[in-house]
Amino acid sequence: MTGPTINDFVIKVATVNGTGSASANGLLMKAIFRMGVPVVGKNIFPSNIQGLPTWYEIRVTRDGYGGRDGKIHFSVAMNPETYTSDIAELTPGGVLLYDSTWPRSDLTARADVTVIGVPLSAMCNDAFAVARSRVLMKNMAYVGAAAALLDLDMTVIKALVEEMFAGKPKLIPANMQALALGFDYITEHYDYPLPFRVKPMDKTAGKVVIDGNTAAALGCVYGGATFGAWYPITPSTSLMDGFASYCAQLRVDPETGHNNYCIIQAEDELAAAGLTIGAAWNGARAFTPTSGPGISLMSEFIGYAYYAEVAMVLFDIQRVGPSTGMPTRTQQCDIQLCAYASHGDTRHILLFPANPRECFDMAVNALDLAEHFQTPVFFMSDIDIGMNDWMIDELTWDDTYVPDRGKILSADELENIDTFYRYLDTDGDHITYRTLPGTHEKGAYFLRGSGHNKLGRYTEKGPEYKEVVDRLYAKWKSAADAVPAPIIVKAKSKTRCAIIAVGSSDPAVIEARDRLEASGIAIDYMRIRGFPFSKQVEDFIDAHEEVFVIEQNRDAQLLGLLITETSAPKDKFASILHYSGAPLDFRFVYDEIQTAVKVRKIA
């Protein structure tokens, strides 16, 4: 856990929002990735379009851990407004690169860090005429300087620049020139490369770099979704943007030119929910991407879909609440909200993807489960998974996949039955048959959110009402075995101590657990991937005496769910809560557990 060392360090680039630094940072990260070295990218950005500070963190991790490190070793400080904090958070032995066009003596106040000044603005102002390109080229120049310091392969960078500007090849020479400005300045004025640097490896073969929202959008395309409704909200917007752009590429009928999909930007989330339910009821695979505030607004329709039994997939890309909260910061703060969204007795199916690969797979799962169980399904992603660049195994698809549309009666099947009753459990599995409008004259029924009996008729009779809601409970309960099973990692030696976590906490937990084990603390780990909880979840808790529940919210929402929805005794659990809005880092988990273990003398 020391570092920094070769292929194990963290770069943090500080820039000003809206200055075009995103592509430069992407270039830096991809260059390292193409050199075969695993990388983790975290975009730490403000709720702002232009002017506020923004950071991009790149962790170079030879061991391939996917979480944040928690420390910064190399700071590319391009925003004078944040110099003070950028230099303060560097670890001893760290390096700060800044634009010395305007020299700053105060940056040398820390004796334990090296400050490297490169007159980026001055060089770019001399080399380029247009004001906007001077700003953009400064970004490329710092990439060049960083490349020299970190020993990056310039042929890899050149290839990336050529791909980046494949559509505008005229821009390539200027960008290469800017890269060279930074690179050459370092080689002429400083000792290079740094002691911690990048050395080629072969650990990224078969991997791709992708964010969770893009992967989920692809999942919706491959899962056969034909309808999406949404109201723009950070951080879910890129999911629908992704779906729209993939559909434009992949879902236009080559012969007729007609779209085999429909996307509606709703007037608000209330409407987005209604649109989704309407389309699903009428036989389209439908979804809506949103975030916590959207779930609050959709809750009325969510209860309707639950009670009237209409499929609905909600992508909740969680952000910091309550209220508007911190819209560009991450948390797992909607777990309780989504588990029981809406008034009355309601309970829902939740899926917890932990990375973009699972976003792809679980988007398909969500579409299947929603139609199979005829109920809302919540896909519990967050900003960290949804909007950050993750290195994952390449997405794969099985072309023999057949969507699970659930129990839908065809015209022939309707022809052969006497009377169709929408809510009659004829198979004894708590799931009843549905019909699509326009199929057959026997198929008509009345969908309603008011009291109804098993025949689908309006009722205010207690026993008839109870019969339906009891079946709904049993139906929900039966989904425990249909949601993705938990992933359990066992310690090398037997232990009575365990960790439970969900979603984006996973990479930090995996790394912390490995390092704890290396330091003599053996601990098992279960990552829950679905709700309702299966027997496997119960059994895992039963098999341990001390269970740390790690989650990213203040109120221990996952723990609350475990206490309410399993038979485990409350005093068995201990909460580890991280809710600053930053993605979880392994050091936090490591320190919390190590301290707890020392204090309690367990494990």
Binding site: G274, L275, N282, A284
Partner: protein, 351 residues
Amino acid sequence: MTSFVKPKIRRKNEPVNALNKVRADYDGTASTLCAGCGHDSVTASLARAFYELSIDPQQVVKVSGIGCSSKSPTYFMSDAHAANTVHGRMPAFATGAIAANSALTYIGISGDGDSLSIGLGQLAHAMRRNVDMLYMLYNNGVYGLTKGQFSASADLGSTAKKGPANELPPIDPAALALSVGATFIARSFSGDREQLVPLIKAGLKHKGFALIDVISPCVAFNDHKGSTKSYAHTYQYYHKAVHADYVPPSEEIMTAYGEGELMPVELHDGGTIRLRKLDGEYDPRDRAAAFAKVLDGQDKDEILTGLLYINEDQPDMHARKNTGPRPLNQIPYAELNPGAEKLAALQMTMR
């Protein structure tokens, strides 16, 4: 209270439509609304219109929100799918349903409470999108199920049953619809079946969003002296501006009225709406004129009725979304799956 099915008895020599269905085949369960409720008259007009157009009930989707009006989809065409949704949210549900299958006929039923207060936003946006549906707004100026509060369509000075006068200006659904882009805007009265049935038929055949604002008095809470949505008041101030008849594609337009009075509007299905001027030179194909007429009617305390505005030239939601004639819900998965090879190719840029 449970619903019960009306017995279907077929009389000898009873007239049938092109589907060999009798009028009673378009009935629903017996109404549980108050005796004399205007809504039941509208329901009868709806059943009559569907029957006369020979629309197969199983090819129809009925949707509603919450309120007395929204209960009425149960009372006609039992053989059609229906969804009684959430208060004020029917337009969104309907829009989603219509997106999924363009091949069916959609009728939405709502009230002034459901549409003009809680549901004002969704109604406006469904009209903006020109969703292909007929939207019936049963308008009685009052909340019936919660016992007599004013709705947003109550006129200034109109009194509640218990006495107090309404102090807020009304939202006129026709003026609203004109301003946000509805392409078929009509007003009628539950008591005027002769006007209403042809309007319903024309609205069902219109390609795009058709709004019919139907004055439908509430006998329990808003039919007293001092109310401007009572039967007596409506009869007194009723003013017919334009009569509209739907003529199917197969029938020739017969000039039954004087030249200049007849304004044919061609529909997308090849049929025609035949408009008959009842009030001077007013032409409902002219949006600015329609606005002026509606505002003028407000000033005169006239209940201006008939087809107030029609525009067949605006693309409906499906045309704008380029979704084509095949319903989305009928596209086989094989055509939706881009395939494993394509997925690999897409990821080339992610390395």
